[in-house]
């Protein structure tokens, strides 16, 4: 049995595309990354899973239950963290979590206290007084209080500072160790890379590829930007794997696919004033990812 299984799942908003022919199979216990740029159909997919939207065609199952017909039964076993947290503003954090817990007929136990401690949440504060990051923390707690079998996360790290992001990943990893399947939607490749077992790429409403994380890592690019000290010469880099090289006076920027240590060794010969190694934007990743994929297929 799959945790999530879809067949030709399609959603159109009138004439506007949501998602088209989505075929997914996610195993129980897996951490599945769902990555795509904004507007690619990630949130539509999640809203179909949660039955906020109805499919135009195709079908979906969660734990073998139909996402439309058996929605309430499915949701007993699902925790959800939305991109943008919109809760009842006049409630306190505690009231909101208790209200959420009441739908599962559970009382708040030690597991809840641990979550509150880990995320450093003030239960007495009103939702309307919380920052975006703190609202996200509330979302994390309410998604986990009933120990769900499946966690659906829609851009869970947005609005969280790096320290809390790490806490979140720790919490999620522990939850996964208990057997919880995690559906992790994001447009941040780095998050998916360090957290997921398998990844699907969605673009313009269609799944364009699925990969396990190890083969993804081999194809991933880094954006390297450096500036040479005033009066010093730059050189033409010989390390293979350099793409889209741009030079401007003392500054150089390019995409790199390969072992970073090899490149850094070559760069160490230069008088570099500063250097940054970042994740390229998703559009760039898509372009080069598919270029390399199609080249591999041609060979």
């Amino acid at each position: 049995m799959y945790a999530i299984e879809t067949e030709g799942l399609t959603k159109f908003y009138g004439k506007d595309r949501g998602i088209i022919d989505l075929d997914l199979r996610i195993n129980e216990g897996e951490i599945f990354g769902f990555i795509g740029p904004n507007g690619s159909g990630k949130t539509t997919t999640i809203r179909l899973f949660l039955c906020l939207l109805f499919p135009t065609s195709g079908s979906g199952k969660i734990f073998n239950y139909d996402i439309v017909k058996d929605s309430p039964r499915i949701k007993k076993n699902v925790g959800f963290i939305p991109t943008e947290v919109n809760y009842y503003e006049n409630m306190t954090v505690k009231e909101l979590i208790e209200y959420s817990a009441s739908f599962y007929n559970i009382s708040l136990d030690r597991h809840f206290d641990q979550l509150i401690d880990a995320l450093d949440l003030d239960l007495a504060r009103k939702i309307e007084d919380l920052s975006m990051g703190n609202k996200k923390k509330v979302a994390v707690v309410q998604s986990l209080i009933h120990n769900p079998r499946l966690l659906i996360l829609d851009e869970p790290t947005s609005g969280l500072d790096p320290l809390i992001q790490n806490h979140l990943f720790d919490i999620l990893n522990k939850q996964n160790e208990k057997g919880t399947t995690i559906f992790f939607s994001s447009h941040v490749l780095g998050d998916v890379e360090k957290f997921c077992h398998r990844v699907a790429f969605i673009k313009d409403g269609r799944i364009v590829n699925e990969d396990d994380i190890n083969s993804l890592k081999k194809k991933l690019l880094s954006r390297i930007s450096y500036r040479i000290k005033e009066g010093k010469d730059d050189i033409t880099l010989q390390t293979p794997g350099i793409i889209s090289l741009e030079k401007n006076k003392n500054s150089t920027s390019f995409l790199y696919k390969g072992e970073l240590s090899i490149l850094l060794k070559e760069l160490s010969q230069l008088s570099i004033e500063n250097i940054t190694i970042t994740e390229p934007d998703l559009e760039e990743v898509f372009i080069h990812y598919y270029e390399s994929d199609s080249r591999e297929e041609d060979n």
Binding site: L50, F80, P82, E84, N86, E89, S100, F103
Partner: protein
């Protein structure tokens, strides 16, 4: 029905209901307080009343010749204002009770809990009914005590019950109209303006029917016409066709609300 959602909704909308009840109770109490002095000066009021154009008399429905009976007097005030005030609140509450979840984007939270759409509709509708019944019950009790005091309990209580039942039915109908409109709206939003507009337009239709008999077709468009206001008459009772109208349309709106909401895309 989901008890948690129901209890939360019940508490959430209490302020508006208490305020509306307060206005209605005050209005009825004040109207009945001045009954004695009105009755004492009935001949002068009648003279003044008949100075007004006939169409005006008909439009405003002052059954001044019935004012010797407290119910005849009460009907004049009841028919005009109480169903309009409570109707306005009911249609706004009906429109708000579901749409606020979509407007405030909390629908995403609610619908990601283990709760069916039917349970959401049932919980919200039950809340709506209880609030409307609460206001109407308070209005009835005020009317009952007020009429009793000013007439030394010499009036037909059953007639008052029937009159207020019509008042309650029209409120329920307006509440359901508001509710249904937001169910069928693609992106639900509060429709206070539209709601009040519906009440005023349907009330205006009722006036038109009374003033211009030729526009009887408007009968189908105004629930006000279906309130039997002959409360002072001896054989005042429930008319089956009036009950069928209210219960039939209300029932239809309830069924359609379930049907449409079950397949509605929630676009938050």
């Amino acid at each position: 029905m989901n008890l948690n959602l129901f209890l939360r909704e019940l508490k959430n909308n209490l302020k508006g209901t208490v305020l509306t009840s307060f206005i209605v109770v005050l209005y009825i109490a004040f109207s009945l307080l001045i009954y004695s002095s009105m009755k004492e000066n009935i001949s002068r009021i009648t003279d003044f009343y008949y100075l007004m154009p006939e169409s005006f008399q008909v439009a405003f429905n002052f059954h001044i010749n019935q004012w010797d009976n407290v119910l005849g007097y009460y009907v004049t005030y009841f028919v005009y204002f109480v169903p309009i005030i409570t109707g306005c609140y009911s249609i706004i509450l009906g429109a708000k009770i579901l749409s606020k979840e979509e407007q405030n984007k909390t629908a995403e939270f609610l619908l990601s809990r283990p709760i069916s759409r039917n349970q959401i509709i049932s919980s919200k509708l039950l809340t709506l009914f209880i609030h409307i019944l609460g206001i109407n019950l308070l209005a009835f009790l005020t009317g009952l005590i007020g009429c009793g005091i000013v007439s030394d309990w010499e009036f037909n209580i059953k007639s008052l019950v029937i009159l207020h039942t019509y008042g309650c039915l029209i409120c329920l109908l307006f509440g359901l109209i508001g509710f249904f409109i937001t169910v069928v709206m693609k992106r639900a939003k509060a429709i206070s303006g539209i709601g009040i507009g519906i009440i005023l337009v349907t009330y205006f239709f009722d006036v038109m029917i009374r003033v211009f008999g030729k526009v009887q077709f408007l009968l189908y468009l105004t629930p006000f016409k279906y309130i039997n206001i002959e409360a002072h008459s001896q054989d005042y009772s429930f008319d089956t066709w009036r009950l069928i109208y209210f219960i039939g349309i209300s029932g239809l709106l309830i069924v359609l609300s379930y049907v449409f909401y079950r397949r509605k895309d929630i676009l938050v």
